[in-house]
Amino acid sequence: MSPQPRLVEVRQNILKQNDIVARELRQRFHRAGVYVVSLVSSPGSGKTAFLERTLTLMQPNYRVAALVGDLATDNDAARLARSQAPVRQITTGTLCHLEAAMVRTALEGWELETLDFLFIENVGNLVCPSSYDVGEDLRVVLLSVTEGEDKPLKYPTIFNTADLAVLTKMDLADAVEFDMVAADCNIERVRPGMPVLKVSTKNGAGISEWLHFLDSARNRQLVSAV
């Protein structure tokens, strides 16, 4: 008869390594005074167009830069670079999300002190990015009206880990009969109290509210850091 197995407690978090790197990054960002915003969403929600417009509009008043994650192409980086802001690409290969260490590597040689805002566009995916902290101050989840109002219920984890929801492509809301009340209600169900902004990158609706939100969020951060 084999002896009884011995049970030993180890209590090791599997993503501990990522969490450690993310914490280091966050401290580094705070020391440098740069406010870091990550964008997560499904593919095709309009992240890149939204970010390109954001970078372009912020350029005159703030020092902005972006990191963009993509599986295989540098198309998004090329689009973002049209804003004239510094942009770096992280090609993830077959990996469906960004990890803190990838962000750290991509930042090598960058003077973070010269930036006010750094945007990190995650790989289009509503599942895996939710488990990986990349050191951001603000996690924004984007949901386009063409995806349907029930996305928050289908992917509650990513919505629950976000700080702000942005509904995109609002210019198409009527055409696709988007149920705004249901969308607000579903977001509230999975993440009570999360602010929701409604924007159209195409016609500019809601963009000034978004820029105002970013400015206030950064100011609050700077005040609390003092």
Binding site: S2, P3, Q4, P5, R6, L7, V8, E9, V10, R11, Q12, N13, I14, L15, V127, C128, S130, S131, L153, P156, T157, I158, N160, T161, E188, R189, V190, R191, P192, G193
Partner: protein, 103 residues
Amino acid sequence: MAEEEAARRGGAQISAVHLRLGALAGVVKDALLSSYELACEGTELQGSRLVVEEIPIEVYCPKCLAPRTLESVQWFVCPECQSPVSEVIRGRELQVFALELQQ
């Protein structure tokens, strides 16, 4: 990680890995179980079992002033008083909790 722990404990043979998996961890139990065997192949863990303990979402209800367990990951309201709840106490775990070592 499990191999390192086993080595630290005198190279004992690991017969099972006990994992705590929160409902908000973003990982599916079935996917873990099916990939575990594959991941262990050719390692010291080959032949070991993965025991997954699922952790429900526990929140702090600001109205009841008490911890409450959510019934659904899709509805962050207190099951007692129906207030919206946002403070998650448990449910994000993705943790190797314990190892079973052969003596």
